[in-house]
Amino acid sequence: MSGQIIAAETLTDGVTLTCDVCVVGSGAGGATVAAGLCEAGLDVILLEEGGYHTRRDFDLQEQNAYPMLYQERGLRATDDGAITILQGRNVGGGTTINWTTCYRTPARILRHWADRYGLEDLSEEKLLPHFEAMEARLNIQEWPEELANENNRRLLEGCRALGYQVHAVKRNVRGCANSGYCGLGCPHDAKQGMLLTTIPDALGAGLRLIHHAQAVRLNAEGAKITSLNARVKRPDAQPDAGGGFTVKAKVFVCSGGAINSPALLLRSEINPNVLVGRNTLLHPVVAMPAIYEQPIEGWSGAPQSIASHQFVDRGPAMGFFMEAPPLQPMLAASGFYGFGKMQIDFLSQLRHVGVMLAICVDGLSESTPGGTVTLRRDGRIGVSYPTTPALEECFTFAHEILARTTFAGGAKRAVTLHPSPLELRGPQDVPSLKERRYGPLAHSIFTAHQMGGCRMSADPKDGVVGTDHRVRGQDNLFVIDGSVLPTALGVNPSHTIYALAHRARPLVIDAARGA
């Protein structure tokens, strides 16, 4: 049975659609679970608020890609504007525009979840078949170190020179042309995101995929969700251009990702243990750009292929891991907090600019509890992310390590992303970093890894979902995406989400068959 791809604006306004399972969100979690449900013979509707875009639409121009493929047209940020939030919004979600780095969940994180949240069901052993299944489906394999682009090579060499742990990452690609455009949609159909894997699997087994369809509210009668209201969200029109429809299903799965899944529950007045939206984790990222003698051309070559986990576990202090980003002009410029001549002077040397990232691991202790998702009065989603001394300490230390690694990697000159950047001419200048303040609105901070907000816990009095992903107090509502993660991971999150969604397939199938 072959499925259908439907643009929401072509539906009759006010129509009611019925199915066995309605999944909201077509990213790592939603598409993976939807494929399993369709293959089991269930009638599934998958709603996606973003558009259905394929290689044909990827013109690889930043000014078009971010509005087309990212949340809030690329303008999402925390309430105080301090943290730029990069998050996907399209068929495939984050997996269409992510940088393809794949890691299994580290054992120490799974142990922490078992100890703190009772998640023994998510042991390494029990998750293994799910990781293996997704590795096979998405062709997750190590990307040879020799293929690292120059920006990643600086990280590799810097870490090696300092004796830091460093390694080549695994990527979900097949026939990757090493173009460097992962963040703007893969022009070669090489990235094995949901768009080319689980979504075609699901369509082949009868999925109805409705894009430009934003789930607005789940309607509950007691412990049962009876229907969902959706509105048409056309990217080329004013957001409130009108139009909407209803979906009735036996089971509903919320897979809108961190930030959006909690927001949907809050809009629906579903808030078990008053924890929805709490502990929203961002893996906050600080960056250090530098100028090298040789050309770096960080726009070219797989954007992220080398990582260092030297500082990921700092005991009670907040840890971080180091990676590298792609450097197309806009992304490279967007960290610059200062203005005027300095911006042009630095960016005019873009060919020689390299950037290293420190990705800080939040949620592992009370001292870095993460942020909170709220609903604003005008209906928009709010994200607050208060600073803590532990976060500021981590940012400070991370800057020092980034600077040391940058110079060990051969940089001539490095700058911080403060409003008036501190310029470092060599390792002898590293101590001057201490003169600066670190934290929100003191320098640029980004996130590309949103997690938590609907955290999983075995304790019914804790968490939003149980180990079966079912929302506490609801019979037929599941959350399956990055929002269930109780802590940040210390590795890039997509593969954990694929594996959890793969594990959740039979749980949802049973619920739909039993309903």
Binding site: D80, P239, R377
Partner: protein
């Protein structure tokens, strides 16, 4: 009390509105006009004029690089906002009016200053004050404006050649992988 964006742009929206338009009699007639070269989608003419002034300080251009105005940065930002959730343009518009507002500047900085009427040097000083202001709201507005202008400028294909970026041409229209 620290003014956070939540309190000022969310719950205290009324307060921000009052602050930003409070000096309307003083500053409304005095905003130096800048005519948009495309129909405005989200901002009004006054907000647009302030945005244009800010954009030209964020990326003023030089003998090699065009200015933000040359690349239509203010119009591009307005067009992008026109397709975003309306609340975003409302907030940004208020932020622009607050930056422009002479009365707010008098109250907070002890001197009346209409941003669009300042010379380039004084505009730069104002932006620097906002970057590191003790008021979170000012730092938030600076960051939002800086981020929008910077991102919009550097994503313009006109600057690719100037920074040695070849653009994505080699990867477009490929039918089959080797």
């Amino acid at each position: 009390m620290k003014l956070s964006r939540r309190s000022a742009l969310g719950l205290g929206l009324g307060g921000l509105a009052a602050l930003s338009i409070g000096g309307i009699g003083v500053s409304l007639s005095r905003t130096a006009p800048r005519s948009p070269r495309a129909p405005l989608q989200a901002l009004d003419e006054r907000q647009f004029a302030v945005l244009a002034a800010v954009a030209d300080r964020i990326v003023p251009g030089d003998h090699r690089f065009p200015s933000a105005w040359d690349l239509w940065v203010p119009e591009k930002i307005d067009a992008n906002l026109g397709k975003a959730e309306p609340g975003l343009a409302v907030e940004l518009g208020m932020g622009l009016l607050l930056l422009e507002n002479a009365v707010a500047a008098l109250l907070l900085d002890g001197r009346p200053a209409t941003f669009t009427r300042l010379d380039a040097e004084a505009q730069d000083e104002t932006l620097k004050r906002w970057q590191s202001s003790s008021l979170t709201l000012r730092r938030t507005i600076y960051k939002a404006l800086n981020g929008l202008c910077t991102a919009t400028y550097w994503s313009s294909p006109e600057i690719w050649r100037l920074v040695g970026y070849p653009g994505p041409g080699a990867h477009l229209g490929v039918k089959e992988l080797p």
